[in-house]
Amino acid sequence: MPKIKLTIDGKPVEVEAGTTLLQAAETVGIQIPHYCYHPGLKLAGNCRMCLVEAEKMPKPLASCVAPVQEGMVVKTNTDNVISLRRSVMEFLLINHPLDCPTCDQAGECRLQDYYMQYDKIPSRFHEEKVHKDKMIDLGAGVMLDQERCIACTRCIRVCQEVAGVDELCLSNRGDHVTITTFPGKELSNPYAGNTVDVCPVGALTSKEFRFKKRVWFLESTSSVCPGCSRGCNITVQHQESKVYRLLPRLNSEVNSYWMCDEGRYGFDSVNDHRVLRARINEEGVSEEAGHEDALVELASLLRETSLSEIAVVGHASETCETLENLQQFAKNSLKSRYFFYSRFDPPHPYSDNILMTADKNANQKGVDQLGFKPLSDLKSAVGVLVLRDLTGQEMELLDRLQIPVLAFFAVNESPLCTKAKIVLPIPSYAEQEGHFINVQGKKQKIVPAFEPRGESRLVTEWLNDLKDLLESAGQKKKIAC
């Protein structure tokens, strides 16, 4: 591609032909305000917030759509440009309800941000505003306030271009334009949550998230969605060890700017139904226990069996590091060669050619690379140590083979919690560091958003202590002899 040279605010810029002024400005760190432009979507050029000046051009240019030209002298910060932005802000706000105190977008609203930056004058609009419908449940967890909409059409484009469906449209015209689904139909695509992300104002909000937390209280942590083998890059937003929402994070090789709704709303397992204390199950009675008691009990259970005939069962949704630890423990402390894994296998997994894969496990490639075998291959063992969960079929298999579950490293409540002799709480993906290998073979890092909840401890920690216990007990025995 031929290169084009131009200057923006006095800075020399060299970019490929076809680059827009807005993109060219970004390469030299100049941010031009915008609403309708989104780097992951086709150009609309309608909000006019990104107008800039260029020498020899009679009219201001919409920088999101105007291509660079050789020798162009562009200015993005003159008094005139600033006043253009102020006037666009004024236009955007005349029919806007100005209901920030009750709007859930507050704190991440571009109308607020740019108002503070460019407008900051009292309204000169003294007429009756255009009234439209509010609090519309669009379906798919998306709420619409038509009065707050600035008609940027990002949500329409995200449905068309990401989900591949034409479910939203702008009806009518002039200042009566209104975002809507076909009347009577619901938004129903599995990527609908992205409409909320791309909405630069409070028109589209998440039914799940709205009014739960003002966004400025939230902390953000980069992570990877564990919902399927795609491994969409995400930001976990949380406060006080509670996840409030997941947002997609740009990775142009994996998920671009997007994520599916299944992944987006799949964080219940972090917040709810957690196993947060160890338990000892004896003759049908389940009792909570401190972690030392649970470990001592487990060590003694293990010692009653032939260690090398114990099988460990990892999980295709655990990190590579956890799986490695489990494997090392089996090899070194148990001298066992039985490494199996379980996986989530919902009966009719949804998949598409967009992001969602049929494999609802984050790290199938990880268990494969470490040489774990499917649990269905298990023929015999004196007992199993199980990570995360088992399927109903796998539990039946253990019953049939009369193999007891000696320990269950649990994140969430499961029938295994009563079946296993010892239940040890472990953290969710939001509370640990590690890696998943996605369907493309990319190894991606997750970062803990907060400390392990309750008394849950990393699998490594449990296994290290268990190893110590087993070794010290062995020594004692020797001495005793």
Binding site: V165, D166, C169, S171, T180, T181, P183, K185
Partner: protein, 156 residues
């Protein structure tokens, strides 16, 4: 379930041969639908979307963008009075006011017997023969109150 008559289906088939995409036939198809069903209801829009392999949302956005599609029922005689400047200079507003009084309805309404509906429209390109109105598809020009009365009397 609504469906085009065989004759309209034939017209649509012929119409489609004029365009490289099915979507391009949307306005002609909506016209056919209005001709056949009178009103472009949501049901009609979904039917049209199906015929042209496009989304109902798209049809809805188009049908609500253009002013000539009747989204609600209109009268047997749909009176559309021009209100733009050239007609207004020549007394277009008086014509509209007179019709409102005479028919007892406001803009956008239909008389209880379903005979007349009334609306104001923008420039009909009849400025040299102002004031003007359209009744259904037909232009009536150089109007005054007496002429309007005569026209109404003739509409049975």
């Amino acid at each position: 379930m609504i469906e085009f008559s065989t004759q309209t289906k034939k017209k649509l088939e012929e119409c489609l041969t004029h365009y490289p995409t099915r979507q391009a036939a949307l306005l002609p198809t909506l016209w056919l639908a209005q001709e056949e069903f009178g009103t472009v209801t949501l049901e009609v829009m979904e039917y049209v979307a199906g015929l042209l392999d496009i989304s109902p949302a798209h049809v809805y956005s188009v049908a609500t963008f253009y002013t000539m599609f009747h989204l609600k029922p209109v009268g047997k005689y749909h009176l559309q009075v021009c209100r733009t400047l050239s007609c207004a200079l020549m007394g277009g507003e008086r014509i509209l006011d007179h019709l409102k009084k005479r028919l007892g309805i406001e803009e956008g309404e239909v008389t209880p017997n379903g005979k007349f509906s009334l609306c104001a429209v923008e420039c009909l390109a009849s400025c040299g023969t102002a004031p003007a109105m359209m009744i259904n598809e037909k232009y009536y020009e150089n109007l005054d109150v007496q002429k309007v009365e005569k026209i109404l009397d003739e509409l049975k």
